[in-house]
């Protein structure tokens, strides 16, 4: 069977994922790109004797990357060497997208331009002469709508047609002097490109355009050519813009459109309270739905657990396992979730009856907010506030994502332009943003003492983040990145798309997070039954009891929090704590040290020196805050 690789490329928020879902269906493979942790989606289509592998890469404004995610999108093309590239562009603002089309032509790989949202473009009175556009660009152009399904079949047919004809794309020829400089650079580097030799023209232009990834090749360029590269870079971009403008004038008729902001958007852009409004709405939506889920959705699995699962598993294990130690490890020595911990009882309850259902809801809400176009507006709204903490507005995205899981949050910081923003946003996540699994446990634990204590915890975390962020922004060198983002039009979320993302993220938690939850419970159980727990508790008693006024056994929860913070908070439920003690203990668990997963990801993303600095900051701040709380609350 013949295999054809197709890569989908395009700006962020252009409907690329929707086209991908329309082409491949709901169930797709999600993998991290080799050596990186940026998600790449693969879908498979079988037509006749051909198997199409469709690869969806992260959104990119340009083929010359300014973020890690954009770099990976380009690397997919370089390393996978697809048979066809499909450029998904927005039919309502074609001119802005055609620049990327011109850049993609440089690869010399067959290219199809798909103008998505054609239904909306027609509503707006935009007329596109498709045939003329095809002739001008010398590539197929498809008018499509992922919402109505228009053009998807045409696209599949066009792919099959191109494969038969084997017609490649040709690059846009620029003025004589520019072409001559590109050729000179191309010839100088050609012998050093190994597997990428076929992309020598593209790579030559990237070098001229100042692409940092390829500057090492500039040592092969003769000095007299090097001297004119700065000026040529500017000319390449301006000539491409001129070319795009000319094609646009020839092929597209567009009426002057009145783009207006909604009242809510004006409010969101107010310097101070706009930020509170934007972030407040986001969290209100998430927590509001979670409260409903907790009251309705959470009770149903709980009923199932207590009435059916728990008695059945206990009876089964008691009848087949006679060794008391192993039995205790598996189901705990006493019934009840917190009275003793068992992998098959407490572990299963935490994962499948508490964390996963809630996490699924959170991911659905986040997916809807993303697809709706709300999140980029939160970014713009937060820029002013984030700058005070040394970050650009878009750093709020990984922080919000980090409320799902800080591992995912740290990884999604790869979309940020500056290293400083990346480190700071990742620090804030591991320091003061509890992951959703931990938050669920916090609501369950502190909620017992009253909503006031839950509110107090969030207030403490916000204050801690502000002070620690300010200090960290002075300690971590680098410039604050600028903000330059598109605010996509408000649109109705496509549930297929939202569901696809949620399933992919849940899969990731099942693979990466769940084993650690079970490991955490196993380690804790072994420590408990071997007496190690008691020794540790005694060792840390002077700090835990003396400094923070907590029972000595809290030391165990603090240690286990390195493995899983949600499990650690859950363990606190088994101790006899006053409301103030519970608040202090949860604050310390949240702030004092990253969980092992986040720590490892932090270490792999940033240097050990930075990781050490972050840990020192966390230990220092949590000690001060713990002491302050003890003085205020316990006396």
């Amino acid at each position: 069977m013949r295999e054809i690789k197709v890569v989908l490329f395009g700006h962020p928020n252009v409907g690329k994922s929707s086209i991908f879902t329309s082409m491949t269906g709901l169930f797709v493979e999600v993998s991290n790109y080799p050596g990186t942790t940026v998600e790449i989606y693969r879908g498979y289509i079988k037509r006749g004797d051909t198997r199409f592998i469709v690869i969806d890469v992260p959104g990119a404004f340009s083929i010359v990357p300014s973020t890690t995610a954009e770099d990976i999108a380009r690397r997919v093309i370089l390393e996978e060497q697809p048979d066809i590239i499909i450029h998904i562009a927005d039919a309502t603002s074609i001119r802005r997208h055609l620049y990327l089309t011109v850049e993609l032509l440089d690869f010399g790989i067959p290219l199809i331009l798909v103008l998505n949202q054609i239904d909306r473009a027609r509503e707006l009175g935009i007329e596109i002469d498709r045939e003329k556009l095809e002739r001008e660009l010398n590539i197929p152009v498809i008018l499509a709508s992922a919402i109505t399904g228009e053009g998807i079949e045409d696209l599949m047919e066009k792919i099959s047609e191109i494969i038969k004809t084997e017609k490649t794309a040709t690059y846009v020829r620029l003025s004589g002097s520019v072409e001559s400089t590109i050729r000179d650079v191309q010839h100088s580097i050609e012998g050093h490109l190994n597997n990428y030799r076929r992309f020598s023209r593209a790579i030559a232009s990237w070098i001229i355009l100042g692409d940092e990834k390829y500057q090492h090749l500039s040592r092969y360029i003769p000095e007299k050519i090097k001297n004119k590269l700065g000026e040529t870079a500017k000319t390449i971009m301006l000539e491409r813009i001129k070319y795009v403008d000319r094609i646009y004038k020839k092929c597209i008729k567009s009426q002057q459109m009145e783009v207006k902001l909604r009242r809510m958007e004006y409010v969101m852009m107010k310097p101070l309270y706009g930020t509170f409004f934007a972030v407040g709405i986001t969290f209100l939506i998430i927590w509001g739905v979670l409260a409903i889920i907790h009251e309705i959705g959470h009770r149903i699995p709980s009923i199932f657990y207590y009435n059916y699962y728990d008695p059945y598993v206990r009876a089964l294990i008691n009848s087949i396992i006679k060794n008391e130690f192993i039995r205790n490890i598996l189901i705990g020595e006493k019934p009840g979730i917190y009275s003793s911990l068992g992998i098959l009882t407490t572990g299963v309850f935490f994962v499948f009856f508490m964390i996963l259902p809630t996490m699924f809801v959170i991911y659905i809400i986040m997916g809807i907010l993303e697809d709706l176009g709300f999140i980029p507006r939160v970014v713009a709204s937060c820029h002013n506030c984030m700058r005070h903490l040394g970050m650009s507005g878009d750093a709020i995205i990984p922080i919000i994502t980090g409320t799902g899981c800080s591992i995912v949050g740290i990884l999604s910081s790869r979309t940020l332009r500056s290293e400083k923003s990346r480190v700071l946003s990742s620090f804030i996540q591991v320091f003061g943003v509890p992951c959703i699994a931990q938050q669920i446990m916090i609501w369950a634990l502190l909620g017992k003492y009253g909503a006031f204590y839950v509110f107090m915890l969030y207030l403490i975390l916000v204050i801690s983040i502000s002070f620690a962020g300010l200090l960290a922004s002075h300690l971590i060198p680098g410039d604050t990145a600028f903000l330059l983002i598109e605010l996509p039009a408000w649109r109705k979320p496509k549930m297929n798309n939202v569901l696809k993302k949620a399933i992919a993220r849940m899969k990731s938690f099942l693979i990466n997070g769940v084993p650690l939850v079970f490991l955490g419970i196993l380690v804790l159980n072994i420590m408990y039954y071997t007496g190690t727990a008691l020794i540790i508790a005694k060792f840390f008693e002077p700090i835990i009891s003396g400094l923070f006024g907590l029972p000595s056994e809290t030391a165990l929860a603090l240690i286990i929090s390195i493995l899983r913070k949600d499990v650690a908070v859950g363990i606190l439920g088994g101790y006899r704590l006053t409301a103030s003690q519970a608040l202090i203990a949860v604050t310390l668990i949240t702030l004092y040290f990253p969980c092992i997963g986040s720590l490892l990801i932090f270490l792999s993303e940033f240097r050990p020196k930075r990781t050490a600095l972050i840990i020192l900051l966390m230990l220092g701040f949590s000690t001060i805050i713990g002491l302050l709380l003890r003085v205020i609350l316990i006396h």
Binding site: F61, S62, V64, S66, D90, T92, S93, I94, R95, R96, Y99, L100, E103, L124, I207, I208, L209, G210, Q215, S218, K226, N227, L229, G230, A233, K234, M237, L238, I241, D245, S254, M257, V259, L261, Y266, M269, K270, P271, P376, V379, A380, H383, N384, R387, S392, G393, F482, L483, L484, I485, E486, L487, P488, A489
Partner: protein
């Protein structure tokens, strides 16, 4: 090293122009020039803010400017907007 960190001026004469940060809200202006380093220049061009294009200013607030370019809304921080020279 290549000269990729130089300031780029696209036109010699932008006498009638002023920075985008000084433009009034709800005005339509034409981009005359981009005065910035190469990486910012690239980012501006690829998002659609390039010399000759008409843009309309929706919001010009403390740290962020919102403009309409080809039916799309783009948000720019003031440090970037200050390098975008526009004319009425």
């Amino acid at each position: 090293m290549l000269e990729n960190d130089i300031g780029i001026h696209t036109h010699g004469d932008v006498g009638s122009g002023h920075s985008l940060v000084d433009a009034r809200e709800n005005r339509e202006v034409t981009v005359l020039d981009l005065v910035c380093d190469l990486s910012v220049f690239r980012s501006l061009i690829s998002i659609g803010i390039s010399p000759g294009r008409k843009i309309r200013i929706l919001i010009n607030r403390k740290k962020v400017v919102l403009v309409v370019v080809d039916n799309s809304i783009i948000a720019l921080s003031k440090d970037i907007a200050s390098g975008v020279i526009v004319g009425e």
